[in-house]
């Protein structure tokens, strides 16, 4: 199975996302921001970084990149899409996920090993976790505060679409401690913390993030 990993100018964690895909025994396919088709991949990861420098607003410019049109089309048809950090911001800007990410309440960039509670284990990216499981993965962002209209937040909570919640302290002022959410059909997931940096305790705090990529492989193979 093939998982596309998009590189925009300024993307940083694409190598990490590709490595995570390989660790889950899938093939990583590099997708370039200028691509207009998805090269036959079964799922797409929009990785972290600072696309186009993110000077204007995180993800604001990347969402217009040519590759985003086929991503949006495929996601609407149910292709699994994962946005990590800047990728989450881009998916929100592109309208695939609700809400927006804003400046951390501390006004500082924060890099730390963060506990998360997995609250939805039905998405293709989370089937391998037990509901309520706590996992530790790195969080590293300056604009990670999740915000949305109250009605949107209520809807997310009501429909069980909060996929990850910060545990042990809210690092950035996100509403309801939200760390990650999914689309209405559950196929598109975005989160601020970085599961791809937690696939091996040698280079990350834990290997708790690997199960996300393994979940995907299982879900796609089962489908």
């Amino acid at each position: 199975m093939k998982v596309g990993v998009i590189t925009f100018p300024g993307t940083l964690d694409d190598v990490d996302a590709q490595r995570a895909v390989r660790y889950a025994d899938a093939e990583a396919v590099a997708l370039w921001h200028g691509d207009t088709d998805l090269r036959g991949v079964d799922a797409v990861i929009v990785p972290g970084g600072f696309s186009y420098g993110d000077y204007l607003r995180c993800g604001a410019i990347a969402r217009f990149a040519p590759v985003m049109q086929p991503v949006v089309d495929a996601a609407r048809k149910g292709m699994p899409v994962l946005g990590i950090c800047n990728g989450f911001q881009i998916l929100c800007e592109a309208g695939l996920l609700p809400g927006a990410l804003t400046r951390n309440s501390s006004l500082h960039f924060v890099c730390r090993d963060q506990w998360l509670r997995v609250e939805n284990t039905e998405t293709p990216w989370t089937t391998r976790y037990e509901e309520g499981a706590e996992i530790m993965v790195p969080l590293k962002s300056g604009e990670g505060g999740y915000r949305a209209q109250k009605s949107t937040v209520d809807e997310l909570e009501g429909e069980g679409r909060v996929v990850f919640r910060y545990a042990g302290g809210n690092p950035n002022g996100s509403v309801n401690d939200i760390a990650g959410v999914c689309s209405a059909n559950g196929r598109v997931v975005g989160l601020m913390p970085h599961p791809e940096h937690a696939i091996d305790a040698l280079t990350g705090p834990t290997d708790h993030g690997l199960a996300m990529f393994k979940s995907l492989v299982e879900s796609v193979v089962a489908a």
Partner: protein
């Protein structure tokens, strides 16, 4: 050529940590009498004369601001 200004501000109901940080700092620095501060972005564009208001609004809403959390105002401020 015309100069166009676009101001983008966080929506009133959205938390503005930057503005709040300023508001908190003011009394510490001895400045009283400022009851609220909000911080947004200010853009200055040099625009050809044939760019119409509709196009400017599209740029403001589509690129310069995020309607989920921000409001904007467009103003033409001068001719060159």
């Amino acid at each position: 050529m015309a100069r166009v200004v676009v101001d983008v501000m966080p929506k009133p109901e959205i938390l503005d940590p930057q503005g709040q940080a300023v508001a908190r700092a003011l009394p510490r620095l001895g400045f009283d009498g400022i009851s609220d501060v909000r911080q947004g972005k200010h853009f200055e564009l040099e625009v050809a004369d044939d760019v119409d208001d509709e196009t400017l609004a599209k740029i403001a809403v589509g690129l310069l601001s995020n309607p989920v959390i921000e409001d904007f105002v467009v103003r033409r401020v001068g001719q060159e």
